[in-house]
Symmetry: C2
């Protein structure tokens, strides 16, 4: 067992804008005006897709040699569908989150098609963020701390 | 039905660093040196936690009035456990992703404890990123495009 515990903190700012921090790094999120925000940053669902794509890229780099593949460029296009009747209105039978995520890998490589497809399958299986999204992870509310 | 499709793109840069883009916004990710990166940005798992925390904050702001709660400040601390034997070594029976996520809400409010706890439960249920993580979402690989 080699458990690492990752930490982050998110703080609500003006309107729907949020500052999230992990270690020494900070990122801003917001919503577009169509979702009542002020469009000062990408929204959390877009950031989730960015996290997934980045994780796939890192897994590709980390395991390329062990998987016996070489590439010059690696890029992922991602998209996800969200029903605003589930999120904004809470309509029965509709989930608030993404109903499906789709992606396309773009790889500049001289490796054979078969090996590239095996590599893509490996990435999907080994990527930590893919695993969380596909298989689900329990979210535990430890506490609600109030102050006046 | 009011389906919105959100999009993002991630591109591998030097080493384990990745540039992810959604619309006009760009974010950098990397890994710490302990995970073979160069520590130029938070990693995708930390970004996933940041996305979750930001989503909780936005849901809190969006629905506060409808849920009849007022607050002055809203902040979330998050953490998640990952077993590197699952991620880096692919050891049987261990998942590569987060085994559990925990969070604590910090709310500056004069509202009663009972209403605050109801509000916390509402946020957990309605938050799109929480929904994706807790209930899981299918990830479909559309294509692998290669070029030489």
């Amino acid at each position: 067992m080699a458990i690492m515990t990752f930490k982050a903190e998110s703080r609500l700012k003006d309107g729907l804008s949020v500052e999230s921090t992990a270690g020494k790094f900070t990122v801003l999120m917001d919503e577009p005006e169509t979702l009542r925000g002020t469009d000062t940053g990408m929204n959390p669902v877009e950031m989730l897709l960015c996290s997934l794509g980045a994780c796939q890229c890192i897994v590709a780099r980390l395991f390329a040699r062990a998987q016996r593949i070489e590439f010059e460029e690696f890029r992922v296009e991602l998209e996800g569908d969200l029903d605003t009747d589930g999120f904004l209105r809470g309509r029965d039978g509709l989930r608030p989150g993404l109903s499906e995520i789709r992606y396309t890998l773009h790889i500049k490589t001289g490796t054979s098609r078969e090996k590239v497809e095996d590599f893509a399958a490996f990435i999907k299986k080994r990527c930590p963020v893919s695993d969380v999204i596909v298989n689900g992870t329990n979210i535990l509310q430890k506490d609600v701390v109030t102050e006046t």
